[in-house]
């Protein structure tokens, strides 16, 4: 199983921070999501990002997690030379994170 099977994502940016929110399609999958998606597993999956820190906010009433990746955007959209300076594609790249439901 991969993340895409149980969740959808949205990505935004603020300065040098990428913010990725992950939403369980079904509320019953939220505990699984909260167990497998940790700041460590997210940072590991996006191993090519130069993050300083990853922080997770839990929103159980929305069956959602929000990850704040500080330092991910090489100075932010106004300075970065990256093709996707906003990091808009990053959340989608999380969707093939392999999930072990056991």
């Amino acid at each position: 199983m991969i993340l895409r099977d149980i969740a959808h994502v949205r990505t935004g940016d603020k300065g040098d921070i990428s913010q990725i929110a992950v939403f369980a399609y079904r509320e019953s999958d939220y505990p699984l999501l909260a167990r497998v998606l940790t700041p460590r597993s997210v940072a590991d999956h996006l191993g090519g990002l130069p993050v300083r820190s990853v922080r997770r906010y839990d929103l159980p009433t929305l069956a959602a997690l929000s990850f704040v990746l500080d330092g991910a955007l090489r100075g932010g959209v106004t300075r970065s030379l990256a093709l996707d300076a906003h990091g808009k594609t990053l959340g989608a790249q999380l969707l093939d994170l392999v999930i072990d439901p056991s």
Partner: protein
């Protein structure tokens, strides 16, 4: 919802946004207000540069097109307009809107310009720590082009109380474009943190326009959205206590659902329990949505507490140049030829002594946006080489594209489709300023 409600629509989520969904809202949305959010972080620095070369310029380039499209219908239906399209010159923008209103025969149309966000003189005279990196504003020296504080809704409320049909601001917090009309209509106190928090929630949900009605959402087979070609923009019916129901014009494209609302709720929010705005610290931590069917979603649970003592200021500054070149390779060995091309350009820039501070070498189709570092399955049929670099001069930036173009006759075989570009980099840094340094002012123009 019981009692009187006010209906506010979102006419744009960024400066280049589609125009006809705004007209659709005015004509068929039964709106009371229409707000357009059009001012990205560095747009105001660009506008400031435009104003330097032409004192009449410095506002949103689509202002005239948008106003010509919506003003007649808005006037006929009593829809009042609020927008930050004033950018670096709200007064100039208000004068233009007034000229357009006269052309359209809309005599008496009253337009307000809200100013006071420009704090360039204060920033130049002082020295303020930057909040998004090490250093202070003085380190940026004379490269600073603009400094604008994120104002709250106060100026908008004053302008609406003054009878403005159109309110044009420079930098205000995006949700304030929606909060302002709610404060005006319901007479909310400026220390009623719960209501201000709920109004900010409504503003945050609406400010990106189509991003809550199915834009930036579709993933075929997983999250399907009908008719994105005719995506409808959202509105909210807001009650006196700040509770709201979101909707869109029946028959418009897109989809408004709990899932689209959740995505927009958390979009670009760092701490959901502390969304810092000039008027309130909004708390989205306990927000809940209920699907009422037919693209109607109720939102509740927003809250707020006291506003921050400081205002955020965006400082726009000149940050040199960037140069870029791209070229494509295809067929067997495309990736190897692309890698060879990158090494040639890197070597040429070094050999010819081009002063490049930072060089980005990408193979589009392989590693340009991917950050997982996982190997692709099989070699792609085509890749595109991209070289981008930062320089202090335009001439050096031009050399980057020139070296990519020279690959046609000097590089690996079979390169095609070269494009090159140079741009002047306007960067943005953030700092905080004491809120007492800043006061909005309102000026009117009447057609």
């Amino acid at each position: 919802m019981t009692g009187r409600t006010v209906r506010i629509g979102a006419g744009a989520g960024f400066s280049g946004d589609r125009i006809e969904p705004a007209l659709e809202l005015v004509e068929h949305g039964a709106l009371d207000y229409l707000s357009f959010e059009c001012l990205a972080e560095r747009t105001i620095a660009l506008a400031q540069m435009a104003r330097r070369s032409d004192p009449e310029a410095g506002f949103d380039p689509l202002l005239a097109d948008r106003m010509r499209a919506v003003l007649p219908a808005a006037r006929a239906r009593g829809v009042r307009i609020v927008t930050n399209m004033g950018a670096a010159n709200p007064i100039g923008a208000a004068k233009l809107v007034t000229r357009i209103a006269r052309e359209l025969g809309l005599a008496g149309l009253k337009t307000a310009a809200v100013t006071g966000d420009d704090v360039l003189d204060i920033v130049r005279a002082g020295d303020f720590p930057l909040i998004d990196r090490v250093g202070t504003s003085r380190d940026l020296g004379d490269t600073i082009l603009s400094a604008n504080a994120y104002l709250g809704a106060g100026g908008i409320v004053e302008a609406l109380a003054g009878g403005a049909d159109v309110v044009i601001t420079g930098r205000v917090g995006d949700p304030a474009l929606f909060l302002g009309p709610l404060i005006h209509e319901f007479g909310w106190r400026m220390d009623d943190w719960t209501r201000l928090g709920r109004g900010t929630l409504v503003g945050h949900l609406l400010e990106c326009a189509g991003q809550i009605t199915g834009g930036y959402f579709a993933d075929p087979g997983f999250k399907d959205v009908p008719d994105l070609v005719r995506l409808g923009f959202p509105f909210a019916d807001v009650g006196e206590n700040g509770a709201a129901v979101l909707g869109k014009v029946p028959g418009s494209g897109g989809r408004l659902s709990i899932a689209t609302c959740k995505e927009q709720l958390l979009y670009e929010i760092l701490d959901p329990a502390a969304y810092l705005q000039a008027d309130v610290t909004a708390d989205f931590g306990a927000v809940a949505f209920a699907d009422l069917g037919e693209d109607r979603v109720a939102v509740s649970g927003g809250d707020g507490y006291s506003r921050p003592a400081t205002l955020k200021v965006s400082v726009g500054y000149e940050d040199g140049f960037s140069g870029e070149g791209q070229i494509s390779y295809a067929g067997p060995g495309a990736v190897a030829r692309g890698r060879l091309a990158l090494e040639i350009v890197r070597g040429r820039l070094a050999l010819t002594g081009v002063p490049v501070e930072d060089l980005q070498l990408d193979l589009i189709g392989l590693d340009s946006v991917d950050r997982t570092g996982r190997p692709a399955g099989g070699e792609p049929r085509e890749i595109r080489v991209r070289v981008a670099g930062r320089t202090s001069s335009r001439a050096a930036a031009e050399r980057i594209g020139a070296e990519v173009e020279a690959l046609y006759t000097n590089g690996p075989f079979g390169g095609g489709g070269v494009t090159t570009s140079v741009r002047e980099v306007l960067a943005v840094a953030s700092m905080l300023i004491d809120r007492d340094c800043v006061a909005p002012a309102v000026r009117y123009e009447v057609a």
